[in-house]
């Protein structure tokens, strides 16, 4: 009895093994093994930051092209680029590490809310229904589409300010949040030496007085920073200042000059106390010391994103 069962089951097993072998041979897909190897190296988050459908599609694109020109995995950064270059046998594209930066200052304290949104918690939808809690048509809507878009858990909403916060350690600069924000608040900026960055935390293009009406920390386009900047890195266009991160040398003169505190400097050691009032944000930010040691010099290579 037992013997019969063992024999029958064994026979069935053998028959299936043979069938499976032939089927596998028949339907075998010939594929460059390099694709698998590269896909292995890529982060595997399928974030879409490269513009491809996912990491495997990106690996296929690498192999098809044979080199890395124009293809970049923003999430993987330099490390992945080196590994891929090794596998492909070419030189990796060198670029500065980037990080997502939230350019809005409309926290609950700065921008007093007049309206209360009561509906589908989605920024894109809210953007079509009203201007914003305070009335600023450029500011953060605070419903967290960027947080949902981030595959790396680098974004979170700060319940106190109502603004998203970027975890610099986790941010891979894939750009998913930049794409998803209906108001274009998030920008990828150069990570900077020791993670130090200076940027205008406002997107309001309205005239100064109007912008001020919505938010006490709005950029009013006064142009003081533009005049102060010794490197010509700041441009005021449409009542809004913008700091070109490739020209900025992190001197922080503009930060002290800004009358509304719209310019943020992060990860700097605190300034001497006499210039304190204009630079309160820099003190609040935790000082990051784990900056990548590779980016020591301010290189002026255009980013390739």
């Amino acid at each position: 009895m037992i013997l019969t069962a063992v024999l029958v089951l064994g026979l069935i097993g053998v028959i299936f093994a043979i069938v499976l072998y032939f089927v596998a041979q028949k339907f075998k897909v010939l594929e460059d093994p390099l694709i698998d190897e590269i896909a292995e190296v890529l982060p595997g988050a399928n974030c879409g930051g490269c513009g491809k459908a996912g990491c495997r599609a990106m690996a296929e694109a690498f192999v098809k092209q044979g080199n890395m020109d124009g293809l970049k995995c923003p999430a993987g950064g330099e490390e992945v680029a080196k590994k891929v270059a090794e596998l492909l046998g070419c030189t990796p594209e060198v670029s500065d590490p980037m990080v997502a930066v939230v350019r809005c200052n409309g926290s609950c304290g700065n921008a007093v809310s007049k309206n209360n949104f009561d509906g589908l918690a989605d920024c894109a939808f809210a953007n079509s229904v009203y201007a914003g809690e305070s009335g600023c048509t450029f500011g953060c809507l605070g419903l967290g589409n960027c947080v949902k878009a981030c595959q790396f858990g680098a974004l979170s909403m700060d319940p106190e300010t109502g603004l998203p916060v970027v975890d610099e350690e986790k941010c891979t600069a894939c750009g998913a949040c930049v794409k998803t924000c209906p108001r274009g608040i998030i920008e990828l900026r150069k990570k900077g030496i020791k993670n130090r960055r200076v940027y205008v935390a406002c997107r309001n293009k309205e005239k100064g007085a109007v912008a001020r009406k919505w938010c006490s920390a709005a950029c009013i386009g006064c142009g003081k920073c533009e005049k102060t900047c010794p490197f010509g890195a700041i441009k005021v266009e449409n009542n809004l200042a913008y700091i070109d991160f490739n020209l900025c040398r992190l001197c922080r003169k503009c930060v002290a000059e800004c009358p509304t505190g719209a310019i943020h400097a992060v990860n700097f050691p605190p300034l001497p106390p006499k210039k304190e009032p204009a630079d309160s944000t820099a003190v609040k930010e935790p000082i990051e010391t784990k900056a990548p040691e590779t980016a020591k010099e301010p290189v002026n290579i255009n980013p390739t994103y």
Binding site: K114, N115, D118, G119, L120, D122, A124, F125, S128, V129, Y130, A131, G132, G135, T137, E206
Partner: protein, 442 residues
């Protein structure tokens, strides 16, 4: 009584301002006339700062195909042409005019006499509609001259006048019918002539017995005007549903009413047509209901376009009640919540509806229990619960294949959902995403 076959809901009617006769709203100190008050491209200003304008003078011209002329609603001086925030707070271009006196253009006939005969040819009627800046007043503000120029190869068989006023609270159409029945019938005859159709049907929901009586009496004096009482069911006044109710025809997905031989016009528009054609009066005024369950008084006003919502509220109520939760332009089912009360009214405005804190709050959302009420309520036979899930998971192509673009955003699904899911919000977002995807594919 006729009605549409599929879906629909019956929200509380709340027609509390039906007995308030139309009052004249006093002139404000300043008006802001927005340049896009209609569907399509904004009009181009043809006046400059400091210019003197009269009531009814052309101040902005339609240059694109899908556009409508805009006339000055007041007399005075152009203060500036500048950015103006509309009622949802988004910046638009507007002409600000400081009001000085009330001097009308000489061409406008301001006498109260009713002018019955119209000798214009159909083409001349359409041209005059364009000149007078008439747009559809049912909500979509579709430029009238485009609607009444029937494309070649198509033939209009029915003219349907939408007087269903299925939205809760709104009573402006009701009042217009009560007070201007004859003018409306003349307007309908003019439109009938412009289209060359034998019969015009005026569809009125049966919760308005008085207007049905008045209009039926009046229609006897005119040739080819038939008053159709309709079942009280929302969205009876939606274009596709109204056509289905009255003619039994169905406008296929992605097609226009004219494809099934129908042209639909709002009752307010026919009154504007009468004034434009017979009295040379451009579209510079509209009739607004100021209402709310908790308000001390209910009103219907004839207002100049461009007056701010704040001015209207100040005149009608003194000031907003302190527990106001929401102010809505339009009815409760499809109206827009106003976030900026300093915004001016536009041609398409139909009401100022004030809701208090308790009425305006949405109840907390819970899990979908797959009861299918949204599906049974949908007048287009769609599956709102499915769209909700697809949009949430960003499966946009699938949503498109389930005809998400057919949604008319009537709000029946959210209205009937026992789990209070914001279905209409999700579908609107989904439609926007589908359109963006289609645009990207092109």
């Amino acid at each position: 009584m006729k009605t549409f076959k599929m879906g629909g809901v019956h929200p509380e009617e709340n027609k509390i301002s039906t007995n308030a006769a139309i009052e004249q709203m006093p002139l404000p100190k300043q008006v802001a006339v927005l340049m896009n008050q209609h569907l399509g491209a904004p009009a181009t200003p043809i006046v400059a700062k400091g210019d003197k304008v009269k009531v009814g003078q052309l101040i902005a011209e339609a240059q694109a195909f899908m556009c409508a002329n805009i006339h000055s609603p007041v007399s005075g001086t152009v203060n500036k042409i500048d950015v103006c925030k509309d009622m949802v707070g988004l910046p638009k271009t507007a002409i600000y005019i400081d009001v000085e006196g009330d001097e009308w253009m000489e061409t406008i006939d301001r006498t109260p006499d009713i002018k019955r005969d119209c000798s214009l040819e159909p083409k001349e009627i359409v041209a005059k509609l364009k000149e007078m800046g008439i747009v559809g007043l049912g909500g979509a503000t579709f430029p009238a001259h485009i609607k009444y120029s029937v494309p070649e190869g198509k033939k209009a068989e029915y003219l349907i006048i939408n007087a269903a006023e299925c939205e809760p609270y709104l009573t402006s159409d009701h009042r217009v019918m009560m007070e201007h029945a004859e003018e409306i019938c003349i307007g309908v005859s003019i439109l009938r002539k412009a289209l060359g159709v034998p019969n015009a049907y005026i569809g009125i929901e049966s919760n308005k017995p008085e207007p049905i009586r008045v209009m039926s009496e009046m229609a006897k004096n005119f040739e080819g005007i038939i008053v159709e009482p309709l079942v009280v069911k929302y969205p009876q006044g939606a274009e596709k549903q109204l056509i289905n109710s009255i003619t039994g025809r169905k406008v296929p997905s992605g097609k226009l009413p004219i494809d099934v031989g129908c042209v639909v016009s709002n009752i307010g528009t026919t009154f504007a047509v009468y004034e434009a054609i017979q009295k040379n009066k451009p579209l510079i005024e509209n009739i607004l209901t100021v209402t709310g369950k908790k308000l001390p008084s209910q009103h219907n006003y004839q207002c100049r376009i461009g007056i701010t919502y704040n001015d209207i509220i100040k005149h009608a109520l003194g000031e907003l009640p302190s527990n106001t939760g929401k102010v809505i332009s339009g009815g409760t089912m499809m109206g827009k919540a106003i976030s900026n009360l300093d915004a001016p009214t536009t041609k398409g405005a139909s009401s100022v509806l004030v809701m208090d804190e308790s009425e305006s709050r949405r109840r907390p959302e819970s899990n979908c229990i797959r009861c299918g009420k949204c599906m049974n309520a949908c007048p287009m036979g769609l599956e709102p619960y499915l769209f909700s899930a697809l949009v949430k998971n960003n499966r946009i192509e699938e949503a498109q294949s389930h005809n998400i673009l057919d949604c008319i955003e009537c709000g029946c699904c959210f209205f009937s959902c026992p789990a209070n899911k914001p279905l209409t919000d999700e579908i609107r977002l989904g439609k926007a995403k589908v359109r963006a995807m289609m645009a990207a594919k092109k």
